[in-house]
Amino acid sequence: MTWRYRFIFIFFLFSFGLIIFRLFYWQVVKAQELSVLAEYQYSGIVKMLPNRGEIQTSDNFPIAANKVSYLIFANPKIIKDKKRIINEISPIIDVDKASISAFLSFDKVWVSLKSGIDDKTKKNIEALNFTGIGFEQQSSRFYPEASLAAHLLGFVGKNETGADKGYFGLEGYYDRLLRGKEGYAVQIQDALGRPILSKMSDNSVTVDGSSIKLSIDRSIQFLAEQKLKEGIEMYGASGGMVGIMDPKTGGMLAMASFPTFTPQDYQDYSEDLYKNPFVTNTFEPGSTFKPLVMSGALEEGLVKPDTKCPICGGPVSVGGYDLHTWNDKYYKDTNMIDVIKRSDNTGMVFVAQKLGVDKMIDYLTKFGIGNLTNIDLQGEVAPSLKPKNAWYAVDLATTGFGQGISVTPIGLLDAFSAIANRGKRMEPHVVSQVQSPDGKIAKILPKTVDTPISGKTAKIMTEMLVNAVNNGEASWARLKGYRIAGKTGTASIPVKGHYDPTKTITSFIGFAPANDPKFVMLVILDKPTTSIYGAETAAPVFFDIAKDLLLYYGISPSE
């Protein structure tokens, strides 16, 4: 009997040994090769697209969010009644019949007809019960406020591989942050192709995009756009811009430009409209530049508010050029308060000459002129200042009244905000905080860039600007009861080496309330036709917006 038991025992032992050996062969020696083969057989790799982060205004309203959309596709091989499909689908998806007919004539099992169609359109098509028509769910960008702040936002288009990519504005500047990171999931299927397990690859996890919160106030943005649009229509301008900033933090409260576009349908507009002119366009600022030059001279003690101008009795001749005032009226021995009030070019020539080239360059640099403001928007430019040895006497004189020098609107607004902020110039920014998908919040703190003038000089300049508003050429439009500091500007447009006498860029820059400014605002109208002067075009738009802003902030009249 014993040998039988032994035989069976040895047989089992041998069998187990054989199995273990075979298992070792398959699972250790051939493991890698087989696992690749198996993966091909039972799994599929699914691309997991991250959700793009939202862009929210200061009231937490997403002005750029995501929505469900669909790609409609067809299988031409199983479609029987092509004519019916062409005739009925064409008006619903807004694709011409010839294109659909061409798509359906392909010898393929999958052709895309249109992407980005909404849920309602999808349901309408589904109700028609076509064979061979299907839908693929997608996620696309959605702008609830339509064209509001379009230049600020930019838009989301496609890159060379067909993936979403942000262009221009915040969508472009913060694209990597908003986009997140793609992941890949391995979908394991049974013999019939049904999923039985789902596992994310360890080294490829989807990370949703971060959301950004702006300092932009949605109500102020809406208000600014409405008023600017009305102003452009009223004064027959070809375009216009408004920028409103909190001078204490540098946070932009609104930034609007016309003509504009709708980010959702960006492809329907000219590419020229995509750039944000508030940061990419340059212009000669004209008289709105005078307070910067005057501040420098006051800071240096070269002039005082009551300093008399000995050269203001008539046109000033500099380097062979006769420099005139805007209305050809001259006031002998006028003081600096009246130079600003009357926007006297000859008075500013006197101030610029007192300042000299070295100090002029020094102060302009401190005010940020010639350098980027570093605002967090795509495409900012900064025309550089001429090198010291290239300044002629006439350059110094004309810079005094803002001609012969170029700035961007954001550069001018940021420089002027230093006067409103007791001499401190803040770095302008649009984003106030970034929220990562796991809820972590990173705040962007206000940053002081420079202190071009002292608080004392800023106060003196503010009083001169309040006087300019109350008694200057734009006083007819001012808000009675409020202390608003401001300055008009009328800049000629250089064309082929001379200035066009019929076309101007009019502007008004100011802040309110003068004692404790809540906002600093720049309004620019491009080539207004009803009048060529800032006092008659940009100033009323400024005060119209300021009136509602003061009401919005609950600020009562102080006088």
Binding site: M1, V68, Q189, D190, I196, R218, L551, G554, I555
Partner: protein, 93 residues
């Protein structure tokens, strides 16, 4: 002798036990696919509904829409504006 007998019985029992487990596990796994698909479908459905409702909510609460609705209802911008000396109670924080 006895030890061999016991060992063989034990090995046979292990084989039977493992076979039963394999049958049970395979049986359970075979029905996981449809269930998994159903759960995934439901999750996607609610995600989609959520996005569609968000879209409707954002469109309805946009200032553009509110301004249009207000205009259609006959609201006009007030000509007389006044500001109280201090912030209204509701706005004080």
């Amino acid at each position: 002798m006895k030890r061999f007998k016991l060992l063989i019985t034990f090995l046979v029992l292990v084989i039977v036990f493992l076979s039963v487990i394999q049958v049970v596990v395979s049986n359970r796994l075979s029905t996981t696919g449809p269930l998994f698909s159903k759960i995934e479908e439901e999750t996607n459905f609610y995600k989609k509904e959520n996005l569609l409702l968000s879209e409707q909510f954002l469109t309805a609460s946009s200032l553009n829409n509110i301004a249009l609705e207000a205009k259609a209802l006959g609201f006009v911008e007030g000509k007389t504006k006044f500001v109280t000396a201090s912030l209204p109670l509701a706005l004080r924080q």
